[in-house]
């Protein structure tokens, strides 16, 4: 596998022993893209060797492990970045920009909704327990997506104060403990509702920010940015005016999304490219990382609070 991957991407050397790779290749940056349960050990060894580390989500499977990695990164002066790619999609950045400009008024509440047909025929998540890295994880299937939900919410409403989670397992044929999560979060700058379902269709991933003057939606699978706002004039006409704006925005997003797919630049990868670019710029310029350690810790404390409420059958 290592050899074939090296060949496919024109990488000059390959290893199957991680420690040996660190010793011989002496990498400046290590990307950890293995299954979640192995992240902590590999990221720890990479930081110890003096490398900056970019880890797939979830960066660790326990918040306590992230504390250890964070302390190590700080003491070594190295960057520790988790792939929270959707924070860097153009649509979400636009939502944050307009929120920070004050266009939405005061932020009241955020909905983060991810519906994904992840258990269909041939899905790697339906594999038997022996070859399914999510079978032994808290959260089951949701463990692979919870970081996306939490990172988007924390970016908008800040660290959580309390959170209530409702976990469900709708598909009994898989070895996964859960495949659905609905959570309510009370946080420093507002409230958030997080929804993940592997059953609800069609697929969607979007964030809705509810402000005192404007409601704004950012699509993460389609290039959708749309808003409904208070206008001067008769109130009964407000839905008509906003509805026409929404319809136009949805049509543009649908066509734009198809265009991006045909161009081989799917929205799901847009934020990853931007995050990787910013990480390398930050490393070269010795500037702060694109995702702060404080944000990472807040995201995983929220994850831990939600995961602790999963009652495994």
């Amino acid at each position: 596998m290592a050899e074939s991957t090296a060949e496919a991407f024109g990488v000059p050397s390959w290893f199957t022993d991680f420690e040996r790779m660190l010793r011989e290749a002496k990498p400046d940056v290590v990307h950890v893209t293995t299954p979640p349960a192995s992240h902590f050990v590999l990221a720890h060894a990479a930081l110890e060797s003096g490398a900056h580390v970019f880890v797939e989500k979830p960066i660790t499977t326990r918040a306590a492990e992230l504390d250890v990695l964070g302390a190590l990164a700080r003491s070594r002066g190295r960057m520790l970045v988790e792939n929270q790619n959707y924070l860097f999609n153009r649509t979400f950045r636009e939502l944050v920009r307009r929120l920070e400009l004050g266009e939405l008024g005061e932020l009241v509440h955020v909905d983060v909704v991810l519906n994904l047909d992840a258990l269909g025929s041939g899905s790697r998540y339906t594999e038997p327990a022996a070859t399914n890295p999510f079978a032994a994880l808290r959260g089951g299937l949701v463990a692979d997506f919870i970081t996306h939900l939490c990172s988007l919410a924390v970016r908008l409403v800040g660290p959580h104060r309390r959170a209530h989670a409702l976990w469900r397992k709708r598909d009994s044929s898989t070895p996964l403990s859960s495949d659905e999560l609905h959570a309510l979060v009370d946080a420093e700058r507002g409230t958030a509702a997080l929804h993940f379902s592997a059953s609800a269709q069609p697929d969607t991933f979007h964030v809705v920010a509810h402000g005192t003057r404007m409601r704004m939606v950012a699509g993460l699978f389609e290039p959708l940015v749309a808003s409904e706002r208070l206008h001067s004039g008769p109130r009964p006409l407000l839905p008509v005016r906003n509805g026409m704006v929404l319809a136009q925005a949805h049509a543009r997003a649908a066509i734009g999304g198809l265009w991006l797919k045909l161009a081989g630049r799917p929205m799901a990868l847009e934020g990853l490219a931007e995050l990787v670019r910013r990480t390398y710029v930050a490393i070269r310029q010795e500037s702060p990382p694109p995702i702060s350690l404080g944000h990472l810790l807040a995201v995983h404390q929220l994850e831990e609070t939600l995961l602790e409420q999963e009652v495994r059958s």
Binding site: M1, S121, G122, R124, P128, A130, L262, A263, G264
Partner: protein, 327 residues
């Protein structure tokens, strides 16, 4: 001989188990899920439930003379198919190197060929894909398997037979991808006058069984196709009549391939080299399914001293296979 069959629960693997038993071999069938229909077949098949990617494999190879490696991941995205197939293969080959096995029969595929450079006839020297990933995850996995198998043979001295079947079909199985595309209740037959390189699952499995234990050169490679040529138009007609549904219409091959080339060119001009098309509009993937091609079935028959059990199209249509249990 004692023969281990991997992927024995699959469409082809089930038939291979049956044909090996019929030829007097002792069969150990490796399956991921228990399958009572297999164990109750002829000749007392020994069933082992194991996953090539995670189970210890040395016990399964104890006392085995030959291995038929037919296991492959068939569903999921390109990387899932590639990783699922290659991980299991690497572990199996490592175990074989430490075992008494003397002969490996690898079930490969036509997808390893570079169909844009093959020309009119397929033969021993036909070019393989230089960039395996252009053919998709399955093609990449098969090319990688072949390479690993040749290395295993070179380093251990075990005999290797690589068999590349054409499109495998059965009378009641899924329609092979080489005929065309369904459009609602209609079926568009692409290149209706072509004889697609087909092999009935019973013939294919028997060729694989016949290759086990045959002496000859240390490393040999054969294509498997049925000797009776039948046009795509006639095949689809027979199938639709049998199922009493829908109707067919022809799309001449030169028209379809011109259309595909035009779409490919237009998308390159508009979107640049990263463009992504539905697989049927990728020229290589289109050619792999629909290129008119001649394949000589006689080399395999002569070299293995083998006669296919089903020698006519009507015999193939009438054949019943060992079917998977429902669900």
């Amino acid at each position: 001989m004692k023969v281990l069959v991997t992927g024995a629960g699959g469409f082809l693997g089930r038939q291979v188990v049956r044909r090996l038993s019929a030829r007097g071999h002792t069969v150990r069938a490796l399956v991921r899920r228990p399958d009572p229909a297999l164990a109750s077949g002829d000749g007392g098949v020994e069933m082992v439930v194991a996953d090539l990617r995670s189970s210890p494999l040395a016990p399964s190879l104890g006392g085995v003379d030959a291995v038929v490696h037919a296991a492959a991941a068939m569903v999921g995205d390109d990387f899932t198919i590639f990783a699922g197939t290659v991980e299991g293969t690497e572990r199996l080959f490592e175990a074989i190197a430490q075992s008494p096995v003397r002969h490996l029969v690898l079930v490969s595929s036509f997808s390893v060929y570079d169909w844009l450079r093959v020309g009119e006839a397929l033969h021993g020297g036909s070019p393989l894909l230089a960039n395996p990933w252009l053919g998709g995850g399955y093609a990449a996995a098969k090319i990688w398997q072949e390479r690993q198998a040749r290395r295993l043979a070179a380093s251990t001295g075990i005999r290797l037979t690589v068999l590349r079947p054409g499109f495998i079909w059965s009378s009641d199985g899924a329609l092979p991808a080489c005929f065309g595309i369904p459009l609602g209740s209609m079926f568009c037959v692409i290149g209706p006058r072509r004889n697609p390189p087909l092999t009935h699952v019973v013939n294919c499995a028997d060729a694989i069984a016949a290759a086990v234990g045959v002496s000859g050169a240390a490393v040999r490679t054969f294509d498997i196709v049925d000797r009776h040529g039948i046009s795509a138009w006639r095949w689809v007609g027979a199938r639709l009549r049998r199922e009493k549904r829908g109707s067919r219409f022809p799309l001449p091959g030169f028209l379809a391939s011109t259309l595909v080339r035009a779409i490919d060119l237009a998308s390159r001009l508009v979107f640049g080299p990263t463009r992504k098309l539905p697989s049927i509009c990728e020229p290589l993937r289109y050619a792999a399914r629909f290129a008119p091609i001649r394949v000589d079935s006689r080399t395999l028959e002569r070299e293995l001293d083998w006669t296919p059990p089903l020698t006519s199209f009507s015999a193939c249509l009438a054949a019943t296979e060992l079917r998977a249990p429902p669900g």
